[in-house]
Structure formats: structure tokens, C-alpha cells
């Protein structure tokens, strides 16, 4: 277990020192494979054992972490001053002060017996990070090489890039495996800093601005986390996650710290009003976006919220979490309609789906959490697939705009095929995302939460729309396009192809995944399990998936048919790409989608979301503080 946390760091350091590009790609692949195998082994070893706690037994680790944290805070302070981003500096100082206060105030008196743990949820997270994260890193080898090919004058900063990627993975393993909240906070901050550095990787002005926005927001969340740790320490005298959950379930007054931890999770998972940091993160190289969106960073946010879910429900923290999640799902889906940049559509869709996960966790019933975990798994697989496809497309057609993906089906048939799997996987039956959404809907109904029902129904309708029009762009068969697929690196093919297979396989194996992975996990968290989607329905879904895979085989045997022109009022010039206009002029046809700016424009939707959600969070946190400070209801 420690191996998983420490090995990526080792790999990172080696990579930092490796200047040769060949050697680097070999090391990256070897380490990625090692991490993936190790995480599968870990999950397999502890499969079905419920919660297992570990005592690391090395007392010097915590002070070391503390020292590292102080150094990092100092670095952030310096960077903030240097780039004139003072809020970041101030927040870094506040956070360092809070940690120091905790460490010297009560930290010494509280002894954590078990620093690490593993349970079903952690195993799932380990698999997501280990397998999908590693695939993304492999993809990054090809991507970065390709990227350098496009801008040869740029200095090779590959060592630094891969160093950060691996440190990031290590920190993620730390987050999902730490039982000691102080450790968790440390890893939490490391992911914040890594994402800050990765977003700012290209060092353009926009990148620096956006990276500081991400840093500022996440530091704010981090402060929430730190305060939560202090409150838990002072009130309950503990620093362990399992004991917090136990005492919370037993009825101890933990609403304020739980609310603050959930707040940290909300920030990290880019829920409204904090969605802008994730959208800004799009300036980073595509593998970074894929990593941030699918297996790390935002998943850390939802992980902590799901972790807290047994304590949520119809209480102040629970209401905050579920409403923020629900409203984010609805509004972010709407905002996605107005975007034509593929990465931004993906970003908004990530925000929306995380919103749904957060809302499920906020409802805090066993069936809602079942849906949340399902969503998390499928979202990780499908979203990384989509990001990689978009990244590859961007390199080869020179644009990341959906409107420029005209004729992808003819230009890059294989890539278009993979992308279609990803797109369809995001919104249609019988793919996983939809089944999870279904379960989420059913659990909201069971919780009799009319606001969430409304959000999820309208949000789903909008979701169909924005994926549908993108899908329409992808499937269009445009005549006279050359195949330009040769330039794609084989690392990219390998990684993207594997993810697509994974996404499909997960859907076919849906009932197995549910029965043997998610049900036991929810069982350990809640003690009971009820699944909104009965297993016979899961088998029907799985059968539909198989049918979908078989249909092409049945159909494409022989296809001898005459091909006719498309209809253009009888004035098609004969190539399906242009028509004869007035005065015999040839006019080329270009088909564009509508983006409904006046309905779902980013500013409009974002503005509403900002006020509603920010207001809600402030009110509920203030209320919790009031109750905590002894106020009467």
C-alpha cells in the first residue's frame, strides 16, 4: 500500500533526472504498468474484506509532512507575490498558519493509531487512479511528443511534466488511502499544487492566470478542510476518518466539520460557484485535462463527499451538498449547450456529472450512493476516453472546435469510432452513465426530493441535446475527405483503444460490477443495500449492449447499393459539398449547429448558478457555525 504512494514519487524523481526522450518514454511506460498492476493487486488482495486499517508505525512521518507543507506554503507565497496574485499568497499563509496552529496546539496530544486504511470505496478509487491514470500517462508520451513536433522551438520540459503527473498520482493514492485526516490534508494540498503547476505548464499569460484561479479556489477549499480538522481535533479529540464516521453515526455533533469537509470536496470537484477553475484548466495540455477530469483531482472532491455521505442526508450539511450538486447538474448541462469548443463541452459535462454524484452523496441513502459510485466509475472511463479523442483530433485537424470536426468520420474513421463510443456512452442506454443516472433519479424519488427530481429531469433532457448535436457532427459522412489518420502516435492508439474497450466491457459486465464491487462497498458504508435498478434490469441492459455490439456484424455483410446524391433542390454540383447558386456560382455547403446563446449562454447560466449556490453555501456554513457555537435553533 505504501508502495503505491511511494513508487510514483520515485518514478517521478527518476523522470525529473532523465533527459533522454527514448529512455523517458520507456521509464514512463514501465512505471505506469507497475502502478496499474500494483493497484489491481492491491484491490484484489483486499477484495471483500470490508474496512481494513493499518498502523504504519513510523512516528516521524507526520512532522516530515508538516515541514513539507510549510515549505510548499512558502513557495506558493513567493509565487503569488512574484506573479502579483496576492489572494493566493494570503490564502497560502492562512492555511499554513492553521496547520501550524493545529500541529503546535493539539496535534501532539492526539495520537492516530491507524494512519492508513483500505475499504471498498478506496479500492475502487485505487483502480480508477491506477488503471485509468496510468493509461492517460501512456497517452501523454505520444501527445507530448506530437505537441513538441508542432512547436519545435519550445524547450523540452518533459521531465518536469512527467514528474508532476506521477507526483499527482501518488498524492491521489494518498488521499484515498489515508485514514489520518492530517495526512489526508497534506495529500489534498499536494494535488492542489500539482494541478496548479500543470495548469500553468505552458506558461502563457492565460495559463498563469487560470492556474492562479485554480490555486486560489482550491486553497479556499483547503482552508475549509484545515478548519474542519481543527474543529474535529478540538471537539472530538481525534484525527481519524473511521472514528469520525463512527462518532458521527453515533450522534456526535459533527455537522460543522462534515459541512466544511464537504465544502472542500465541492470546491475540488468544481461545483458551482467554483466551476470556473476547472474550465480554466482547459489551457493545459490535453492529458492534464483528461487526468484532472477523469481519475484525479475532481474525483478526490467527490471521493471525500461520498466518504461523508453516511453522515449527510436531511441535515444542514446534506442539504447544502445535495442542492449545490443538483443545481450544478442542471445549470452546467445548460451551459454545455452553448459551447462549441469540444474541451469546454467536456468540462461542463464533467461539472454536471460531478454535480449529480455530489447530489447523490448528499441524499446520503444507500441507493443514492450506489448510483454515485456507479457514476464515478463510468464517468472516469468515458470522460478520459473523450478527452484523449479530442486531444488527438486537435493535433490532427488543427482545431478543438466541434464545428471543425466536419467529416471526421471520413477523415479519421478509427478515431471517430472511438469518439462515438465515448459520446454515446455519456448519454444513451444501455451505457453505464445512463443507468447510473437512472438509479440516481430513482433514489431522488425515493428520498421524495422534488427539487432534485426537477433538476435531474430537466438536466437529462438538456444533456441529450448537447451530446446529440455533437454526435450528429461526428457521424456525418462527408464526401471527398482524405484519410489523415497516419500521423497518430501508437501510444495514443493504445491508450484510447484500451479505454474504449474498458468502457464497453464495463457496460457488458454491468451486473457483475454491481453485485461484486459496488454492493459490498455500499454494504460496508451503510450496513444495508438497496439498489434502485433491479438486477434483472441490469441483465436486460447488458443484453442490449451485446445486441448493440452484434448488430453491426449482422448488418455489414454485403452492401451493394447504388449511391445517390444528397438532395439540394436539384442544384447539387455533384460532389455533395456545394450547389449551384445564382448566376451559376458554385456555393459550398457548410452545416452548423445552433448553440442557443440567448437561452443557455455561459454568462447567463453561470451568473444564476453563482448567486444561488454561493448564497446557499454561505448561509448553511454560517448556520452550522452558529449551531456549533452553541446557538439555539
Amino acid at each position: 500500500m505504501l508502495f503505491l504512494i511511494l513508487f510514483p514519487v520515485l518514478a517521478a524523481v527518476v523522470l525529473l533526472l532523465t533527459r533522454n526522450e527514448k529512455a523517458r518514454s520507456i521509464i514512463v511506460m514501465a512505471s505506469a504498468a507497475t502502478v496499474a498492476i500494483a493497484s489491481i493487486l492491491l484491490a484484489a488482495t483486499y477484495y471483500g474484506q470490508g474496512l481494513v486499517l493499518f498502523d504504519v508505525g513510523i512516528q516521524s512521518i507526520t512532522p516530515l509532512m508538516f515541514a513539507a507543507e510549510m515549505v510548499l506554503a512558502a513557495v506558493l507565497f513567493y509565487l503569488g507575490i512574484r506573479y502579483k496574485k496576492y489572494p493566493a499568497s494570503i490564502l497560502a499563509v492562512i492555511q499554513a498558519a492553521l496547520v501550524a496552529w493545529f500541529e503546535y496546539g493539539i496535534g501532539h496530544d492526539i495520537h492516530a493509531t491507524n494512519d492508513l486504511y483500505i475499504d471498498g470505496l478506496s479500492s475502487i478509487m485505487v483502480l480508477i487512479i491506477g488503471v485509468i491514470g496510468s493509461l492517460i500517462v501512456v497517452y501523454a508520451i505520444g501527445y507530448m511528443r506530437n505537441s513538441r513536433h508542432h512547436n519545435p522551438e519550445e524547450k523540452d520540459r518533459g521531465p518536469w511534466f512527467f514528474f508532476l503527473m506521477f507526483v499527482f498520482m501518488s498524492a491521489m493514492f494518498g488521499i484515498v488511502l489515508s485514514n489520518n485526516l492530517v495526512w489526508l490534508l497534506f495529500f489534498w494540498e499536494i494535488t492542489t499544487i500539482c494541478s496548479f503547476l500543470l495548469i500553468g505548464y505552458t506558461k502563457t499569460e492565460k495559463a498563469i492566470n487560470n492556474s492562479f484561479r485554480a490555486l486560489t479556489m482550491n486553497l479556499l477549499g483547503g482552508i475549509g478542510f484545515a478548519v474542519a480538522v481543527i474543529v474535529i481535533g478540538y471537539d472530538l479529540g481525534i484525527v481519524e476518518m473511521d472514528r469520525l464516521l463512527e462518532m458521527g453515526a453515533a450522534g456526535a455533533a459533527v455537522m460543522l466539520p462534515v459541512g466544511l469537509l464537504a465544502f472542500a470536496g465541492i470546491v475540488k470537484s468544481a461545483q458551482m460557484p467554483f466551476q470556473s477553475w476547472l474550465l480554466g484548466a482547459m489551457v493545459a495540455p490535453t492529458p492534464v485535462s483528461a487526468l484532472l477530469h477523469s481519475s484525479t483531482m475532481v474525483k478526490a472532491g467527490v471521493f471525500i463527499v461520498i466518504k461523508m455521505s453516511p453522515l449527510l442526508g436531511m441535515n444542514s450539511a446534506g442539504v447544502m451538498v445535495m442542492l449545490v450538486g443538483g443545481i450544478t447538474f442542471l445549470l452546467a448541462s445548460m451551459a454545455a449547450v452553448s459551447q462549441s469548443n469540444a474541451k469546454r463541452v467536456l468540462a461542463y459535462s464533467t461539472v454536471a456529472n460531478l454535480g449529480l454524484i455530489v447530489a447523490c452523496a448528499g441524499v446520503g441513502t444507500d441507493e443514492a450512493v450506489w448510483a454515485a459510485i456507479m457514476l464515478m466509475i463510468f464517468h472516469a472511463a468515458t470522460k478520459s476516453l473523450l478527452f484523449q479523442c479530442v486531444g488527438t483530433a486537435q493535433h490532427n485537424i488543427g482545431s478543438g472546435d466541434i464545428e471543425d470536426m466536419d467529416g471526421m468520420f471520413s477523415k479519421m474513421p478509427r478515431l471517430a469510432g472511438l469518439m462515438i463510443i465515448g459520446l454515446v456512452g455519456m448519454f444513451l442506454a444501455p451505457f453505464g452513465m445512463l443507468i447510473s443516472k437512472w438509479a440516481a433519479m430513482a433514489s431522488f424519488v425515493d428520498a421524495e426530493n422534488i427539487i432534485l427530481i426537477t433538476c435531474v429531469c430537466f438536466g437529462s433532457a438538456v444533456t441529450v441535446f448537447y451530446w446529440g448535436k455533437w454526435l450528429g457532427k461526428m457521424v456525418a459522412v462527408v464526401a471527398g475527405r482524405e484519410n489523415i489518420e497516419k500521423g497518430v502516435e501508437r501510444h495514443e492508439w493504445f491508450s484510447t483503444g484500451t479505454l474504449a474497450c474498458l468502457a464497453v466491457a464495463l457496460c457488458v459486465l454491468f451486473p457483475v460490477v454491481s453485485d461484486h464491487v459496488i454492493v459490498p462497498t455500499v454494504q460496508t458504508m451503510f450496513g444495508t443495500v438497496s439498489v434502485a435498478v433491479s438486477s434483472s434490469n441490469l441483465y436486460i441492459m447488458s443484453a442490449m449492449m451485446v445486441l448493440m455490439l452484434l448488430l453491426p456484424l449482422l448488418f455489414f455483410r454485403k452492401n451493394k447499393k447504388e449511391t445517390k446524391h444528397i438532395y439540394m433542390c436539384g442544384v447539387n454540383t455533384g460532389n455533395n459539398l456545394s450547389f449551384t447558386g445564382s448566376m451559376g456560382r458554385e456555393v459550398s455547403v457548410s452545416i452548423r449547429n445552433r448553440y442557443m446563446q440567448d437561452w443557455f449562454g455561459e454568462k447567463r447560466v453561470g451568473g444564476i448558478g453563482m448567486y444561488v449556490t454561493a448564497g446557499m453555501i454561505v448561509m448553511i456554513i454560517a448556520y452550522s457555525v452558529y449551531i456549533w457555537a452553541g446557538g439555539a435553533v
Binding site: W438, M441, I450, F458, S460, A461, A476, V477, M544
Partner: protein, 290 residues
Amino acid sequence: MELFQIISPVCYVVLAPLLGILLAGSDRVITARMQRRKGPPVLQPYYDVRKLMSKERSTVNGVQEFYVLCSLIFMVVTGIMFFAGGNLLLVVFTLTLSAVLLLVAAFSSNSPYAHIGAERELYLIMAYEPMVLFTAIGLYVFSGSFDVYDIATGGTMPILYLLGIFAGLVFILTMKLRKSPFDLGSSHHAHQELVKGTTTEFSGRTLAMVEVMHWYENIFLLGLVALFFFDGTLLGYALGTALCILVYVFEVLIDNSFARMKWQTALKSAWLVALVLGVGNIAVLFAFGG
């Protein structure tokens, strides 16, 4: 599993085309009578499809027919699951899958008219989807089960508690049945503005499949309407069957008395209906404990 749950989907697969033909045929006759015309024979839709099947094989690209075939298959699957008494949400999602596959077929042609039709159809999906979901949720809140079988044999007519949702469903049915004022995507009548919308690039056998799909779809939709009257007694089934036909006639009347509206109107009105009738009805059910 009851015997009924096996017989009824088999009946659906066999009889739905037959009933679909009669329904579409009577639709055309009634429409003609409303316009003081004689109209075609009742079996006209059947003749149309047989003719389309006998036409030359031709297409605009190699994949279009495949998408349409998939759309048809999943439409039939939708109906089978519904009449087997399956999960209503699953039914709704499969219905959406079928609808989207048809749009994919239209989009794949890269033809301007088909694109416009398909995009408008997407607007319609966005417009009616919330109400369809609220229908399923409403029936669940009422009966405590998403399974059609449990709802149909529940002992009380859902309509008594779900009047708002029923009205909302009838409203969006206009879109699903491709009737004016919401026949934006494609319609059976010639409208020069669209040519034929979604179906512009379909021809011969492909178009025949689309027609057959509509037969299956219409019968399924009427089944959904009838479900509101089923209470497990013979009277309920009779009433449901009679009233779903009445609703269809009502839709034909609406079709003939309205001009086509813009997608903005369709979206706004459908969402308003879903919000007021759908959410309102469910909220009332929650408030009074079902």
C-alpha cells in the same frame, strides 16, 4: 412471471404493425373528413410501405440504413419491455435511444435538409423528455413501483391521482406523434420549408423501416396513455383502450386545427407544462403521501 407477461409482448410484436396500419390509416381518413375530402383507403399506409419495399435499392451512404434498422429494433424492444410489464424508466430510455438513432441516421447523410430536421427533432426531444420522465416518476410515486405490470394491476386508476401528469403527457404526445403544431422535425404532409426534414435522405426500404417504426411507436405511446386507466379490472382495460383511441382522435383534431409553431414556442411551452403539471402533480402526491 405471469403468463400474461409473455403473451402480451408477443402480441405486441405481431399485432402492433397491424394496429399501427389501421391507426395511421384512420388518421388519414379522419383528417380527410375534417377537410371535407374522401381520403385514401384505411389500408393506405400498408400499401405505401409495400411499395417502398419494392423500390430500387439506393442510399446516400453505407451506414444510414444500419442506423435506421437499429432504431427500428430498439423501438420494438421498447414496446416489448413495456408490454412485458418491465421497468418504465428503462422503457423511456430505450425509447430515447431509438429516437436518437433515427437522428443519427439523418445526421449521417450530411444533407442540409436532413440536418435541419434532425436538429429540430433534437429540440423536440429536449422539450418533451422532462415530461416523459415526470410521467414515469409520477406513476412510480403513485404505485410504488416502476414496473408497468405492477402499475397496470394496481387496483386504482392512476388517472385519478395523476390528472396533471396525464394532461402534460397528452400535450407532449403531439410532439411524439409528429403532429401540428409541433411537427417541426418531419411530418407526413409535404412542407416545402423542410422538404421532409429528418427523413429527407431516406428512400425505398429505409423509409419503409421508418414507417414501420412509427407504427410500433404509436401503438406503444397509446399503451402508455391507456396505462393511466388500468386498474387490474376488465372495466379498466376497456376504458383505457377506449380512451387512448379518443386521445388519438383528439391529437388528430389538434393536428388539423393548428399551424406549425417555432421550436422556441415548442420548447418553452413543453417545459412550462412539465414544470407546472408534472412537478406540480408530483409535489401534490408527496405532500399528501401518495
